[in-house]
């Protein structure tokens, strides 16, 4: 029997009113969940307050839904509110031992002057260093702790995830949005984005394609407490490519393989390709916007808070 879970997701980004108007804003939004074999989107909508902005919707180079927002009427404050309804279905997890040795995967991606199939060409897009993900011998050595010679690629990925989950500490104060991967590796602390970037960097340094997954994670309110609106956050995890199974996902922050609690927004080479909101603002007080996320299981809807 296929299990499934339905969610309502609210994602608000706000430049609070401060007396200095925002005179021009240009943003790129990755706020609408992607349609996937295991995830259906019943609705997805972006509303901007004030209602003076132009919104154009489209698809980015990685196939993710995007919206471009532009506002050129001065206004004090700016609120971007995304609301979507999705249903996530459970996926069958592949047997990690039943996958090719990681060296085989690595070598199959080396260049030969011969035609290449679409699947592996797609994988190659996620094999090289990208703006937020460096590749280095140190990172390859780190990956080597999990990818011993001859280890099946998915078993190695599982071990690498476990290594990060067990030896790194979740610490929201240890890093900032721009902390480099090498520093995370050294300090062994960070948040989901850091762990995802680290795992991707290690995999790519070992010669294996890895994607940055952007989305949400359902959290449980403390026992007996109601779910608080805006208390959740964006989440990030990793997908590894295996010629037999396609992309297989790992969440190094929680040491689990994503299932019904992970909602996918989209993916890219790293955070920069799929950050929920990026852009330029003229005016205001140059303060970073405030972000509020709520992931609400539909079963809970209507229950008294």
């Amino acid at each position: 029997m296929t299990r499934s879970a339905a969610y309502t997701i609210l994602h608000e980004t706000e430049y609070a009113p401060c007396g200095v108007p925002v005179s021009l804003a240009q943003h790129l939004l990755h706020l609408i969940p992607r349609e996937l074999p295991w995830q259906s989107r019943e609705s997805g909508r972006i509303v901007v307050e004030p209602d003076l902005a132009h919104l154009t919707e489209g698809e980015d180079a990685f196939g993710n839904p995007v919206a471009w927002l532009s506002l050129d009427t001065p206004h004090d404050g700016l609120l971007v509110r995304a609301e979507s309804h999705v249903t996530v279905m459970s996926r069958e997890l592949p047997d990690p031992e039943d996958s090719p040795p990681w060296e085989t995967v690595r070598d199959s991606l080396r260049y030969h002057p011969e035609p290449r199939d679409a699947d592996s060409l797609d994988a190659l897009r996620y094999l090289y260093a990208s703006p937020r993900v460096p590749c280095s011998a140190a990172l390859a050595a780190f990956a080597g702790q999990a990818f011993k010679p001859g280890v099946p690629v998915l078993a190695g990925a599982q071990a690498l995830m476990a290594l990060i989950f067990e030896t790194f500490t979740f610490d929201a104060k240890a890093t900032e949005v721009n902390t480099p991967v090498h520093e995370v590796l050294l300090r062994k602390r960070g948040v989901c984005q850091d762990f995802a970037h680290l795992m991707i960097a290690a995999l790519r340094s070992a010669g294996l394609p890895a994607r940055y997954m952007s989305g949400y994670l359902l959290t449980d309110p403390p026992p007996g407490k109601p779910r608080l609106i805006g208390a959740d956050a964006s989440h990030a995890w990793v997908a590894v490519w295996c010629p037999h199974n396609g992309w297989v996902e790992y969440d190094p922050t929680n040491g689990i393989q994503p299932d019904l609690r992970h909602v996918t927004l989209g993916w890219g080479r790293d955070f920069q390709d799929v950050s929920p909101l990026r852009g330029v603002i003229l005016g205001g007080l140059a303060q970073a916007p405030e972000v509020r996320v709520t992931v609400m299981p539909d079963a809970e809807q209507g229950e008294p808070v």
Binding site: L24, F62, Y111, E114, A118, L127, V177, Q272, V280, P289
Partner: protein, 842 residues
């Protein structure tokens, strides 16, 4: 050897010599050589001197290290051109045309279906691993399928005489402007020869590009506006940006001059936002839009990619075209050429191995000694390694680095560059030879690619036989391509603008340029005023406080304090302290109201507005700026400081002369002049108000007379006063002369009249209230002031009261002037407030 000048020609048989072969002088050089041989040493020397003077006069520079302090270096061009015969050029031209078509098609493939990757013709790493592959540009189709509007190839000739492509320039090729400039300079040195030899003309090359941009740009029926986007004056080839913008009549803009509204690009001009239909960019593509490309770029235009995606603007070269600048690419082009064009590639690239391929890596490591090693991708440090020059330990180090990261390295066969004759300089007629490479250009036209019949030949410094760069003592050459048939006689020397090329007024003055011209005016005038005040205060100081001329000193110190040059406790301020303050005010930038600080501001604005200033203007400023630097170290006593100030004042006077004589009377000029008038008005009104307030405290008629004399001197009006009154300075006539006499360029009336004249025109044209009415009203109040109350016969109390009232009127006038300046700024200079720009990702 038929020519005597060849008697000592340093021919080297191991390289290809452009002039001399196994059979003697190559035929296409004969005519040129005969001419040189017939010319006397003096004639040639004269021509060489004319050539360097031409470089100076035209202000051709190359900003060597992109130094913000502006270490512009004069361009270097050799007297002797490189000469190429018609049939040889046909081959080069056909090959370059094909290569431009090929690279354009490859960009279309890589930003589209990527068949070259799926067919295995190009390693995916060279695309997906290249920072120049702009992912957000995937799937974008530029108008007419044109990605590459301007393309350049670096060519070299091997000892067997064949040409090879060394590198491709697809981002925003530089140097074509310098090639045009070289042509002007060198053809002028040999006018008859140039005509007789039927050298092909370069004119028309950029006209073709211009036509393509105009044709392809999405215009919605509007007359197309094309701009040239530059990273700014600190870029190493900024001279060329200015040159090309002028040559093609495109406004030269920086990212901040453009704004995107509703997927449409606009230029912020003094007459509002104007839609831009095409952008010829000299800014690297990844810097072009901080929203979707490099978020840390402050040079780009937020939202530009959106406008491109919406098909509302043409960007040339297309965003993403830098992708093809990879040393590894040439090795794969023959296969790609067969696949995309169904043709064999016409001109081979120098043999290239990408170490990311295992067999290639092995071969490279085995033959490292005979190869050149380059980084695969641009931007990762431009280090080029010559295998035969490596010491043993370096050799191992390079081997290790290639093995650790093979795909980051490319090996190329070492090409022994050809050698071209160069002018020896000096007293005797002597030729040298130098290693040489040739950069050639192709531009898209409505009829296909057009190759510039010529190019930028680059020659190495004395001992360098391998690297051609303008940064390391190299030089350049004009390239003469000879014609088979007759060259249309009118185009022979056609570097001149024809009637059809005349442009009446550029019309689109960007707000940034306008703002900088305005502030150039204000700071120029302010520097003048500060220098004058400091000079006067210093010379009075040196006469001492107790002298019989104390009245003048007190007044000068009062005014200097009011202007922020010295501390304000004038009465008790020790002379030594006042002197120290004045030294600082002149030489130290930390003295905020002083000369050094204001000169720095002036320099900044002038740098930003440089394309609008005459060369003399610019040079005078640069000279003064370096004199000030020098003075900081050498000036230790008052007389040396006074001498420096004398020199500075001469410069400021010539600057204002340049503004009157050498600048075109356009909107930018009017704003510059308004800046000067507004500044002088403000400064003078403040000075007069302060003077009146301090005047009452000066005791004794003699001392008061000296104070008035000092005021007249400060306002550069003492001579006028003496001629007119032939009497000792008195308050009433002096004030009157500095106020209401509108024939005196140092009087308030003059500033008011000029500012009103120009600004009333803006007010009428733009239908805005800049505050001219209030300016005129506050001046009318001064005119209507009962001046009789200041007459010496009036009771002292009456006179004090009148002085206070008049000072109040000066305050009002000064404030009207400042309002005017603010409103100008609001109306003309900023279309989106003065607030900062911030980039976020959340």
């Amino acid at each position: 050897m038929s020519s005597s000048i060849l008697a000592h020609y340093p021919y080297r048989p191991d390289s290809y010599d452009e002039l001399f072969g196994e059979d003697g002088v190559r035929p296409h050089w004969q005519e040129f050589l005969d001419h040189i041989d017939e010319s006397s040493a003096d004639t040639l020397k004269l021509r060489a001197a004319q050539l360097s003077r031409g470089i100076q006069q035209n202000g051709v520079t190359y900003n060597v290290y992109a130094d913000p302090r502006g270490t512009d270096r004069p361009w270097s061009v050799d007297l002797l051109p490189l000469i190429l015969p018609a049939d040889e050029w046909r081959g080069i031209s056909a090959a370059i045309t094909q290569r431009a078509r090929l690279l354009n098609a490859l960009l279309g493939d890589l930003y589209g279906a990527q068949t070259t990757l799926s067919e295995g013709l190009l390693p995916p790493e060279l695309v997906y691993g290249h920072k120049g592959f702009l992912w957000p540009c995937s799937g974008l189709k530029p108008p007419g399928g044109a990605y590459l509007h301007l393309y350049a190839a670096d060519l070299a000739r091997s000892p067997d005489g064949r040409w090879w492509v060394i590198a491709d320039r697809t981002q925003s090729p530089s140097g074509a402007g310098y090639a045009l400039e070289n042509r002007q300079l060198v053809s002028r040195a040999f006018p008859d020869l140039f005509r007789d030899m039927q050298v092909r003309s370069l004119s028309g090359f950029f006209r073709g590009l211009q036509r393509s941009l105009a044709n392809q740009a999405p215009t919605d029926g509007e007359p197309p506006l094309t701009v040239l986007l530059t990273p700014g004056p600190f870029n190493e080839t900024y001279f060329e940006h200015v040159y090309l913008a002028r040559n093609m009549g495109f406004p030269l803009v920086e990212g901040q001059d453009l704004t995107v509204r509703n997927d449409t690009v606009f230029l912020k001009t003094v007459s509002g936002l104007k839609r831009v239909h095409a952008i010829l960019r000299r800014l690297d593509d990844d810097f072009c839009d901080p929203v979707e490309l490099r978020a840390d770029s402050a040079l780009g235009v937020p939202g530009l990619l959106g406008a491109v995606r919406a098909g509302r603007v043409l960007v040339a070269n297309a965003l993403g075209s830098g992708l093809l600048e990879s040393a590894a690419l040439p090795g794969f082009l023959p296969g790609i050429c067969r696949h995309l064009l169904g043709e064999e590639i016409a001109m081979p690239s120098v043999a290239t191995w990408w170490c990311g391929e295992e067999p290639a890596r092995k071969e490279v490591l085995e033959n490292l000694r005979s190869l050149v090693i380059k980084p695969t991708f641009p931007g990762g440090g431009n280090e080029v390694i010559f295998g035969d020059q490596l010491a043993e330990d370096q050799f191992d180090e390079v081997t290790r680095r290639i093995e650790a990261e093979p795909s980051a390295f490319v090996a190329q066969e070492l090409v022994k560059l050809s050698r071209a004759p160069a002018w020896g300089g000096g007293q005797r007629r002597k030729l040298l030879t130098r290693s040489m490479g040739l950069r050639v250009y192709a531009a898209i036209t409505p009829e296909g690619y057009n190759v510039l019949p010529g190019g930028l030949a680059r020659v190495a410094g004395v001992d360098n036989t391998r690297i051609l760069t303008m940064q390391k003592g190299g030089s350049s050459k004009d390239t003469w391509v000879l014609s088979d048939g007759p060259v249309a006689s009118f185009s022979l020397l056609n570097n001149n603008i024809r009637v059809g090329d005349l442009i009446e007024e550029t019309g689109t003055l960007s707000s940034r340029l306008a703002e900088n011209l305005f502030w150039c005016g204000r700071y120029g005038e302010r520097c003048d005023a500060v220098a004058r005040l400091a000079r006067l205060a210093l010379s009075r100081l040196s006469e001492g406080r107790r002298s019989e001329r104390a009245g003048a000193l007190t007044m000068m110190l009062e005014l200097a304090a009011g202007a922020g040059l010295i501390e304000s406790r004038v009465g008790s301020l020790p002379i030594a302290k006042a002197e120290l303050d004045l030294f600082r005010a002149v030489l130290d930038r930390r003295s905020d109201s002083g000369l050094a600080a204001n000169l720095q501001r002036l320099m900044w604005c002038a740098t930003q507005a440089r394309e609008h200033l005459s060369l003399d203007h610019w040079h005078a400023l640069k000279r003064l700026s370096s004199e000030l630097e020098a003075a900081r170290a050498t000036v230790t006593d008052v007389s040396a400081l006074l001498e420096f100030l004398d020199g500075a004042l001469t410069t400021f006077v010539s600057l204002s002369g340049f503004a009157m004589d050498n600048m075109t009377r356009d909107t930018g000029w009017r704003l510059h002049i308004v800046g000067r008038r507004v500044e002088r008005l403000d400064y003078l009104a403040r000075t007069l108000a302060r003077f009146l307030r301090a005047y009452g405290d000066i005791n004794g008629p003699l001392q008061r007379e000296l104070a008035v004399e000092a005021l007249l001197e400060l306002c550069d009006s003492i001579i006028t006063y003496r001629t007119r009154y032939r009497a000792q300075p008195e308050l009433l006539p002096a004030l009157h002369m500095l106020t209401t006499d509108d024939g005196n360029p140092h009087a308030l009336a003059f500033q008011v009249r000029m500012a009103s004249n120009y600004l009333a025109r803006f007010e009428a044209d733009e239908k805005v209230d800049l505050g001219v009415a209030e300016l005129e009203a506050s001046f009318a109040a001064i005119r209507a002031f009962p001046w009789g109350r200041l007459e010496a016969v009036c009771p002292a109390l009456e006179r004090v009261d009148a002085s206070q009232q008049l000072a109040g009127l000066f305050d009002r006038l000064g404030s009207a002037g400042r309002t005017l300046s603010d409103r100008l700024a609001m109306r003309f200079f900023s279309h989106v407030g003065q607030t900062g720009q911030a980039t976020f990702a959340a």
